[in-house]
């Protein structure tokens, strides 16, 4: 190789000066509008100038209207009330109102992602069931949901189902007790008691213990190729230590707060205690879960079908049990296919939560709309919205990409 290179170089070195000058001259003859290098730079400069010009034009139009760009309004008093989310009073500043919106969106998105994954998993597996009827029911669900716009489904759920539920005085009471009325759902919910302060160290210890065991198990798995103990042992401290703590300390650290119907002054009925899911939140969550669940079901189905049948057959021929085939052969390979589209479904769910505004749930958008109506700061609020969504999207893709990378390693 190197010898060839050298021999290839020799005649070039032997080129005399005249010839070389002629070559240089020949090169410079190429006019600059034909010179690719110049053209490339020129094209970029023209493009950037065009983009900047449009931006500058838009900006001058904006400034000509006498509008300013400033975020000082964020410290001003909001003077509107928000019925959903963390504590908020009309005297709080705009910044806190925006935070309420962000947290409401994050809450509905986080719960929605977990529930939609469960629904999608169950439906996707049901779609592949050998039972003809089960598979067809799952198929009909998927087709119906995927072919109706989400907003129509939300309107149906909110105006045609939840708003038509009985009023609070005739609320459905499920065992628990769970109160269901057109004002939403009230569920029993654990409440922190006085002795919680003594209990939470146990939780921390349990978590540390479980993580330590997981690391030890992972090491032996890496070194010897087989785990030194069953995965169940990792779960043990997670359960045992808190239970031990519960028995040791006086009193219950957590109490179950049961909702109950009370009559307020003036004969107004109200359900107090527990945790209340507003009707808007319920409709939005249900809509998002049902809608995204159908899409995730298709993702799961495609993932499982992507594992060639021969893999299962080969594993069975080697004497793997059914459970081993699923957990060691099919799932690791299916997950590789499932996770990337799953990420985009999670992102879609988060973005779709913005439809909340149509049914009056106080998410990021609904709060922002009130904000720009009151303060007149449309552009500023918009930049905040965009930044919030991009942050949420990037967080989800960041976390899921880590998961994805882990799965890809399993491949080798």
């Amino acid at each position: 190789m190197s010898g060839e290179g050298v021999s290839g170089c020799i005649p070039f070195k032997g080129v005399d000066m005249n010839q070389r000058a002629a070559m240089d001259e020949h090169r410079s003859v190429v006019p600059f509008w034909r010179n690719e290098r110049v053209l490339k730079v020129l094209a970029q400069i023209v493009f950037v100038i065009l983009v900047l010009a449009v931006g500058a034009w838009a900006l001058t139009n904006y400034l000509e209207r006498g509008l300013k760009f400033s975020y000082s309004f964020l410290d001003e008093e909001a003077s509107f009330d928000l019925a959903e989310g963390i504590e908020f009073s009309p005297t709080d500043p705009y910044a806190r109102a925006f935070l309420v919106g962000v947290l409401n969106t994050a809450r509905v998105a986080a719960i929605g992602i977990v529930l939609a994954t469960l629904v999608g998993l169950v439906t996707g597996i049901a779609r592949l069931s050998k039972n003809w009827l089960v598979s067809k029911i799952a198929g009909v669900y998927i087709e119906i949901i995927r072919n109706i716009p989400l907003l129509v489904q939300l309107f149906l759920l909110y105006f045609a189902v939840i708003m038509k539920l009985p009023q609070i005085k005739e609320a459905f009471v499920l065992p628990g007790p769970v109160y269901i009325s057109n004002r939403g759902i009230v569920l029993p919910w654990p409440r922190v008691a006085a002795s919680f302060g003594l209990w939470w160290p146990f939780l921390v210890v349990a978590l540390i213990g479980a993580v330590a065991l997981l690391i030890i198990r992972g090491r032996s798995l890496k070194h010897t190729g087989r785990p030194s103990f069953n995965l169940l042992w990792v779960v043990t401290p997670l359960v045992a230590v808190p239970v031990l703590g519960w028995l040791l300390i006086p009193g219950n650290p957590l109490l179950l707060d049961l909702p109950e119907m009370v009559t307020k002054s003036g004969g107004v009925l109200k359900v107090e205690g527990g945790t209340a899911l507003s009707s808007e939140f319920t409709a939005l969550l249900l809509g998002l879960v049902v809608y995204t669940g159908a899409y995730i079901a298709e993702v799961v189905r495609a993932g499982i079908l992507s594992v060639p049948r021969g893999q299962t057959e080969a594993a069975r021929a080697q004497g793997f049990t059914n459970r081993q085939i699923l957990s060691l052969i099919v799932l690791p390979q299916a997950l590789r296919v499932i996770i990337p589209p799953l990420i985009s479904q999670y992102l879609n769910l988060t973005k779709n939560s913005s439809l909340a505004i149509a049914i009056g749930f106080l998410d990021l958008y609904a709060v922002s709309q009130t904000m720009w109506n009151q303060s007149g700061r449309v552009v500023e609020v918009f930049f905040m919205i965009m930044a919030s969504y991009l942050t949420m999207s990037l967080t989800i893709s960041f976390v899921m990409n880590i998961v994805n990378r882990r799965m890809q390693i399993v491949e080798r």
């Binding site: 209207r65 003809w132 009827l133 045609a160 779709n352 149509a358 958008y365 918009f382 919205i385 969504y389």
Partner: protein, 353 residues
């Protein structure tokens, strides 16, 4: 050791209705249990739905307002123009269907020209010229509503966004860093935020950034928003198609002596665009569903009209009937389109190598 010949049991029934039932519904005890539960579930759901549809629902709200759902506030005396536009589309579709087999015949070229001309023609037909025009008086796009507006938004959105999407895709694949960064930033920003933010932006912010003399109506603003949004998704679809064109195609075309623009226009894009047709149809279906979001910025598309109808005094409280009707309408449209796109995929042979 027992060496007597084994007496085999008669084989299980595996053919006929009984065999099918045994195999698909009652193969094991838990399968049988699942079947029974499913049957009970289907029975309950169907009973609830059928009693409601047949007995309780008051469908007169849909029957009375059928025209309102279709064309909304479009002037009744001008409704023939919508029908005429629909007629043009049906006529062209029928011709396309009849001549689908005729490969390379001049009829196909005429049909292509017909389709291309039909869009501006229908646009003029719907909008008219000026208020004084006797034959086609102006019907401003701001009074277009109902299913008509939904269709206009979706169709114009997909058509207008496509060239923009191709340019963005080419920009994203460009080797020139400045162009690549700007195009990528645009695509990723738009794809990272919900459609509703783009719509709000076009409704509220666009007027602020335009010169005071230039005013767009709400429908035009929504269309701008839909187009800008859809372009980012179209760009990603086209990019997929561009990536599917083998590199040898570029190299061969370059070797033959075509310059870069011609390579793109004559060799790469035609091949790339053919492979993205199913993806574009899928994008159209989701855009069609997404048009409902214009309700939130106050436009009266199909869903907006439905909301308005349920607000009328004589139809108050009939949300279930109205929204179910809308849902069924959307389902029929979208299901038909996705069915057609699956057929198209088969015809084009995408996914079959």
């Amino acid at each position: 050791m027992d060496l007597r010949p084994e007496v085999l049991k008669p084989p299980r029934v595996e053919v006929g209705l009984l065999g099918w039932l045994k195999k698909n519904l009652f193969s094991t005890w838990y399968n049988a249990l699942l079947t029974i539960f499913s049957l009970a579930f289907i029975y309950i759901v169907l009973r609830v739905i059928i009693t409601w549809v047949v007995h309780d629902a008051r469908w007169e709200v849909v029957v009375i307002n059928l025209k309102v759902f279709m064309i909304g506030r479009y002037p009744r005396e001008e409704a023939w123009r919508v029908l005429a536009g629909l007629g043009i589309v049906v006529f062209l579709a029928a011709l396309t269907w009849i001549f689908r087999g005729a490969k390379g015949s001049p009829v196909k070229r005429w049909l292509m020209i017909g389709w291309l001309l039909s869009f501006p023609l229908i646009g003029i037909l719907l909008r008219g010229f000026s208020r004084e025009n006797r034959f086609l008086p102006l019907v401003s796009e701001n009074v277009w509503s109902g299913l008509l507006l939904t269709l206009v938004l979706a169709i114009v959105g997909i058509i207008a966004s496509f060239p923009l999407g191709v340019l963005l895709a080419l920009g994203r694949r460009s080797k020139l860093p400045a162009i690549k960064v700007i195009c990528t930033a645009y695509i990723e920003t738009i794809r990272g935020v919900p459609l509703i933010s783009v719509l709000f932006m076009s409704q509220l912010m666009l007027p602020l950034f335009l010169p005071p003399g230039l005013r767009l109506g709400t429908v035009m603003r929504a269309l701008t928003g839909m187009t800008l949004f859809s372009a980012a998704y179209a760009a990603e679809n086209v990019r997929g198609g561009l990536a599917a064109v083998p590199i040898g195609q570029y190299e061969a075309a370059r070797a033959v002596g075509l310059n870069k623009v011609l390579v793109m226009a004559l060799i790469v894009l035609p091949q790339a665009l053919r492979t993205v047709i199913p993806a574009i149809v899928g994008q159209f279906i989701s855009l069609f569903k997404d048009t409902t979001l214009v309700v939130i910025v106050g436009l009266l598309d199909l869903l907006g009209i439905a909301k308005a109808v349920t607000g009328q005094r004589e139809f108050i409280g009939l949300h279930q009937e109205v929204y179910c009707f809308i849902a069924v309408l959307f389902f029929i449209c979208c299901y038909a389109m996705s069915y057609a796109s699956r057929r198209l995929e088969k015809v084009l042979g995408v996914g079959e190598r």
